[in-house]
């Protein structure tokens, strides 16, 4: 689950990380009132789950309350990479002397968190990683010992950060404690600002929460925004499907993440593009398959459906029954190509015998057929 900047900052503050004063506004009037209260230069920032807000014009300085009103008016309702801005963070502007980067990622290679620190702050760290990797200092944190202040100071020195070393290290430790405390899969402060007065402050922050760990953070559920997720993804979640909306036109249903990913690849290989990733999971019954078909057909982008099942724990005949139910109810309005193999394959083929459902022996043949039909 992705958090907004203001939510990430709220969490960081709880773990002792200094953040600039700021509050959320849903209307220009609210923004004006907050700016009026601060009585100083403010920064108005769009709160959307996407990077590059500044470049898109979603971050503006305001010298007084009236300007805060105008800026908020311009930013609210703005479209940033397909997402509508519904709220802005009105924060006290900080006097920036230096901008650094400090982030934590779940690093598969070291099987723990890696702390990344760079003097190149306030810019896209992925770009720094690609163009100037030496500018990033990395440290693998021991998951049992955690990040200790002496290690953080050492990293700061290695990275060449200038400023109050103890305060900088405290911020890194605070970031790590927050990440562990909320089960973050990503946590970053960018920029980590050294102010003209020598203070160390998290001017912007980003936190993603590990979905697998949400069960132990019920307090974070209030941060979830169903409206910022794709409506079909929300519906799929309710059914227990693993579903990702994609930008093609072939609806893809399969069992097992690897098989579904491979099905997307095959669709692309034969000249099509998948409209979604949908994994029905292991051991799915007819009803689950029926619901999956129904869900995929709700997507107006879908011009054809590929069902690719390798029966292991999932029985192919259950899949066939689910598809037949959709057929009987007359909801199967788009071309469908299906391939079933594995457990109960023969029973499935017997059930589908003589029915107007196109069966193919391999996933490549099924994908080829549906891509062709969808193009008609």
């Amino acid at each position: 689950m992705k958090l907004h900047e203001y939510q990430a900052k709220e969490l960081l503050a709880k773990f002792g990380v200094p953040v600039p004063p700021g509050r959320i506004a849903f209307t220009p009037d609210e923004a004006k009132a907050i700016a009026n209260e601060y009585g100083s230069l403010t920064v108005i920032k769009a709160q959307v789950h996407v990077g590059g807000r500044g470049k898109a014009g979603g971050v503006k300085l305001a010298k007084d309350a009236n300007e805060a009103y105008d800026r908020a008016k311009a930013i609210l309702g703005m479209d940033i990479k397909g997402l509508t801005v519904r709220k802005v963070l009105v924060g006290k502007a900080v006097d920036i002397a230096k901008e650094y980067y400090c982030g934590l990622i779940v690093d598969r290679n070291v099987q723990g968190y890696t702390l990344m620190v760079s003097k190149e702050g306030g810019v896209d760290i992925e770009e720094v990683a690609a163009t100037n990797p030496e500018a990033i200092t990395r440290f693998a944190i021991d998951p049992i010992k955690g990040l200790r202040p002496f290690e953080a100071r050492d990293i700061a020195l290695q990275a060449g950060l200038e400023g109050n070393l103890n305060k900088i290290a405290a911020m890194m430790v605070g970031l790590y404690n927050a990440a562990v405390g909320v089960d973050a899969s990503l946590a970053e402060i960018n920029p980590l600002v050294i102010t003209e007065q020598g203070d160390v402050i998290a001017a912007d922050a980003k936190i993603d929460i590990d979905d697998n760990a949400m069960y132990r953070h019920p307090e974070l559920e209030m941060y979830r925004e169903v409206e910022s997720e794709h409506p079909l993804e929300v519906e799929a979640k309710a059914f227990g499907f693993s579903y990702v909306k994609l930008d093609g036109h072939i609806g893809v249903i399969g069992n097992g993440a690897g098989l579904v990913m491979t099905s997307l690849d095959v669709v692309s290989r034969v000249g099509g593009k998948a409209a979604n990733f949908l994994d029905i999971g292991g051991g799915a019954k007819a009803e689950v398959v029926y619901n999956a078909v129904k869900l995929v057909l709700k997507d107006p982008d879908v011009k054809g459906i590929l069902i690719n099942i390798f029966g292991g724990i999932t029985r192919a005949d259950e899949v066939a029954k689910g598809v037949l139910r959709a057929l009987d109810e007359g909801i199967l309005t788009k071309p469908l190509a299906m391939r079933v193999a594995g457990t109960a394959e023969a029973e499935a083929l017997a059930l589908l015998e003589g029915k107007p459902i196109n069966m193919y022996p391999t996933m490549t043949e099924a994908a080829t057929a549906v891509v062709k039909e969808a193009a008609l």
Binding site: I105, V106, R108, N109, Q111, G112, Y113, I125, E126, A129, A130, D142, P143, I144, V180, D183, S185, L186, D210, D211, N212, A213, Y215, R216, S242, V244, L246, G254, N255, G256, A257, G258, L259, V260, M261, T262, L264, D265, V266, V267, S268, R269, K273, A274, F277, D279, G282, F310, G311, G312, I313, A341, G342, T343, T362, M363, T364
Partner: protein, 296 residues
Amino acid sequence: MSILVNKNTKVLVQGITGREGAYHAEKMLEYGTQVVAGATPGKGGQTFSALGHTIPVYSSAAQAKAAHPEISASIIFVPPAAAADATLEAAHAGIGLIINIAEGMPTIDMMRVVRELKEMPNVRLIGGNCPGLITPGECKLGIMPASTFKAGRVGMISRSGTLTYEASKMLADANIGTSTVVGIGGDPIIGTTFIDLLPMFNDDPDTDAVVMIGEIGGADEEMAAAWIAQHMKKPVIAFISGRTAPKGKRMGHAGALIMGNVGTAESKLEAMAAANVPVADTMDEIVTLTKKALGL
């Protein structure tokens, strides 16, 4: 005839009294796996009966191991929130091979487990979020459908469950059997990866070639390619799934995620090419390339 498990492997099933545990314990017994004990906290003294076997249940892995010192492997069927603890329980009971099936474990839990196991070199963890492993005809230590596997001389390592079944079935249909098939799991942090298993297959006299099924996310395939280039004496055939997956979207598996420029299919394909490992573009090609590697 295999790596990690064979017909003599004696198995503990943690969570045997639960629905999943009971179901798969029976399936494993049906396959001929020597399930000798079960463990569920607080259920010590009960028995588990299936297919004419009566298996004692203990309240802890340690109690089970004390009563059956011959236990060499444990398979864990507990909910994801309890899976890290159950894994450490098995490790501290002195069980050398632990299979963790659980899907949905918090990543931090796995970080800590893997870190602790680094200090226990005699313990190998497979998973989480994996189907387990099988030495066809001898021992099934997992949830895979038995019928798709045929005994033979090709090793397999895979991050995906269903693709493992599919590839094994395709090979079996082409009359190519497998020595041991290991599903290593789809999570970002797992106990065992390609680079841990390739040396075992390299040294196994009953394995002639290895099929590795990778996917987007992380750099395990790249590290494996580097190892293969340096050390592997046997042919390896690779398959990479998720070539068309978009950046930043989690594709079913928590580990199948391209973050920034790390974990792309291109990087994995390049690494394989650099190591002279043939990559199958489609699942069918796995069979063609394996046949070619074996000179069939």
